[in-house]
Structures are given as C-alpha cells and as structure tokens.
C-alpha cells in the first residue's frame, strides 16, 4: 500500500490502468485488510463461538464422563484397593513358601549335564 502511494496511484485514482505489479500490490494491500476484517470478524466470531460451543460441549461431555466416573470411583477405588490388597497378601504368601528341593536338584542336574 505504501509502495503504491509512493508511486502516485492513490492520487491518480483507480480509473487509470495501473501497472500490473502495482495493481496487484494495491488491490491486495487495499482490499485485503478490509476483506480480511469483514471476513474475519464474522467468521472469526463464528468459528470462535462455534469452537467455544463445541469445546463447551466437549468439556461438558468430558465432565460428564469424569463425573460419572467420579460418582462410582470411591466405591471402585475401595474395591480395587481391597482386591489389590487381597491379591498381594495371597501372592506374598506364596513367595514366602520355602523353595522345594526339586528345583535345586533340577538346577544341579542341569549344571552337571552342561559339563
């Protein structure tokens, strides 16, 4: 736009056939801000509102999901904790069992056989 003003297009008006480069430059620089502004405001607004709406919807569904989970989660957590505790206690009981001789014998045999 600045370039075009310097070249005198602004004073000469748009009736004159401007140079191709200037015309494109002028048109682009002159129209685009307005065009963008016109296009941007509604479209931006629309997009923003729609995205907000969709976000709201998304967030609300997420909240619903979370809320639904949270509604049941204390019970779930309790069950999980107790289940986990029970599993671990039973598991630890087996871990604490003495190692049967058969495994020591087996490893000895394997070692002997290797030699």
């Amino acid at each position: 736009m600045v370039g075009c003003q310097e070249r005198g297009h602004h004073r000469r008006g748009c009736n004159n056939q401007p140079e191709i480069i200037c015309l494109s430059g002028w048109k682009r620089n002159y129209r685009s801000p307005l065009a963008f502004a016109r296009r941007r405001t509604p479209s931006k607004g629309r997009i923003v509102t729609s995205s907000k709406d969709s976000r709201k919807k998304h967030i609300s569904t997420m909240h619903d999901k979370i809320n639904n989970k949270r509604v049941t989660s204390p019970v779930d957590m309790e069950i999980q904790a107790r289940l986990g505790g029970k599993l671990r206690i039973s598991y630890q009981g087996f871990v604490n069992e003495p190692i049967p001789d058969r495994f020591i014998k087996l490893l000895n045999e394997l070692e002997k056989w290797e030699r």
């Binding site: 505790g85 599993l87 206690i89």
Partner: protein, 192 residues
Amino acid sequence: MGAIVASRTNRGTTRGRLVSMIPSLRAFAISLCGDPCRADDLVQETLVKAWDHLDSFEEGTNLKSWLITILRNTFLSECRKRRREVEGRNGEYDLAAPPEQFGKMDLNDLLVALAKLPPEQRVAIILVAAERFSYEEVAKICGCSIGTIKSRVNRGRRKLADLLDIGSAEEFGPDTTCAAIISHPAGTRRRD
C-alpha cells in the same frame, strides 16, 4: 575356549540368580493356575527353557521379566492345548474344579475366582496388582499394547469383584493394609 569358560562362569552366577527368582516364579505360577503341583511343573519347565536359552538373555535386562515371559508363554500354550482337549466337553477354561486344599497352602476363594478369568486377564491382573509390574513392563511381557493391558486389568478386576461378590467394602472384612489407603486416597486428605 575362553568364551566357553566365560559362559560357564556366567551360568554359575546366573544359577544363583535363577534360584533367587524361584519364589516369585512359583507365586506367579500358583496364582495363574491355582494348583501348586501344576505350578511347580510350570516353574520346572520355565527353568529348563531358561537354562537352554540363557544365551538369548541380555545381561543388564530384567531377569525376572524374562523368566516371567517364559512362564507366561508356557502357561498360555498349555492352556491352549488343554482347551483343545477339553473343548466340546464344556466351555470352561482349565481348572474347572481345583482341589480344595494342598498341603500347607490353603486355596483361597481368590484363587478360585482368578481361575475363572480368561488366562490373559489372569496374567495381566496378577502382574499388575500382585507383582506390581508397570503397565509398560506387562505390555512388553505379553507382547501387546499398554492399552490392551489396561483393559485386561480393568475387565479382570470387575469380573473378580463380581465373582468374589464385592459389592461393598464391608463384605471384605477388616483389612488394615488397605484401610490406610482407603481412608486417605491421594488428593482427598482431610484438612485438620
């Protein structure tokens, strides 16, 4: 020659490490199949396979995970074999009627319930909940995604809770180890 000597000494040290892993392997096997005799056979098969393939074990990696992977694979292939044999007679998985008691070990209701889960869910839930492996480690052991393990654990938990009839906390009776966790779950501590 040097390589052979080295591998022998390695095997010597690995033998000790294998012995130290036996209790965990047995616990995993018993929880998996609910039958200590069958579990011991599984552990034995795992140890023999591990010994035969010690060369494929990468030093520095987790020996327990490696052994558990072998045990898991052995167990699943055995399950498949059994299922093929049992198929037609009934749709149940193996261990339809586990013995009620074995020697010193009492077969608790938990093991009976565990045996009713599909084998893959059993593996996932035991490794995550009892063995306290991370989801990532279990995914590696089972050769699947973390998401799959999570869903197996969730489904397994739900089913176990149903089977054990855990509708409310009271039904489980007092449990001091969990009581502390339950009374103050993360982020919900009371401000005094």
